[in-house]
């Protein structure tokens, strides 16, 4: 119930931010549609721990994002140099390893972070096996038991 209420509040905030017009009619329409969406998602069983993950360890999330941005910038710069280098120094590899996350949300965050970082793309994602395509051998070697893996496990909380 608390989860649905916070879902409702975030939907109303989303409406207000997108519309930017605060006449009584538009606000009422926004609240109305938010309620309808919450009822529909309740019927479809969507606002569960996956669709609206409010249970994550938020302190870890807030420190994870800046760290992820830093990693993205570092590896994007590396890939940029390789793309623009006349000799195109790449050594693509497929790497298979076992992630340490136990929940679906944790696995999805880990796989999405791998894909978001230029130079590595998660190809197959299963609870006990990640198959990752890496642009260079060095990027591929750094994946098993990485800091990203550790941080994603910390996000899962409880």
């Amino acid at each position: 119930m608390a989860r649905q209420f916070s879902f409702l509040l975030s939907l109303i905030a989303f409406w207000l931010l997108l519309s930017g017009m605060f006449t009584p009619f538009l606000i009422a329409a926004g609240i109305g549609s938010a309620i309808v969406i919450v009822l529909l998602s309740r019927r479809m069983d969507l606002a569960d721990h996956e669709g609206h993950p409010v249970h994550l360890a938020w302190v870890a999330v807030l420190s994870y994002w800046p760290w992820l941005f830093k990693e993205i910038i570092k590896s994007a710069w590396d890939v940029t140099r390789r793309v623009l280098h006349p000799a195109l120094p790449i050594s693509p590899v497929l790497v298979e390893f076992r992630p340490t996350q136990t929940t679906d949300v944790g696995l999805v965050i880990h796989a999405n972070s791998i894909t978001l970082t230029p130079g590595t793309i998660s190809v197959e994602v299963e609870p006990d096996r990640f198959l990752v395509h890496a642009l260079t051998r060095e990027a591929g070697a750094g994946l098993t038991g990485s800091e990203m893996d550790r941080r994603c496990t910390a996000l899962e909380g409880n």
Binding site: D78, V83, G119
Partner: protein
């Protein structure tokens, strides 16, 4: 003060546009589909990120800035999912990636 913000925004827009171009160039230069995806992900992370940061600094504290952040969050969450779906479909199709030889020495740019 405002000139400082404007120049940071100009630099950010310039870099973002250049990184977008790098993604496009990589899309042309890379040898096979999987490596091309790596090049395209530069456009989707640094290209989008820096361009939106530049626009964000131009917008200031308004609802426009909130919408720019929403566009950023959308790309941030959805584009890796699309890339993963694409790579997975290609792998299911048995599209073989070009891989480096095992014996080769490490590649430094």
């Amino acid at each position: 003060m405002s000139t400082l913000v404007e120049s940071i925004s100009a630099i950010s827009l310039l870099l973002g546009a250049l990184f977008c171009c790098v993604g496009g160039i990589g899309l042309m230069r890379m040898p096979d589909f999987y490596t091309r995806m790596h090049a395209a992900s530069i456009t989707e992370t640094l290209g989008v990120g820096l361009t939106l940061l530049g626009l964000l600094l131009l917008a200031g504290w308004t609802l426009v800035a909130v919408k720019l952040l929403m566009v950023g969050a959308l790309v941030f969450f959805v584009s890796p999912t699309a890339s993963h779906a694409l790579a997975r479909a290609a792998m299911t199709c048995r599209l073989k990636p070009v891989l480096a030889d095992v014996g080769e020495t490490t590649s430094k740019p």
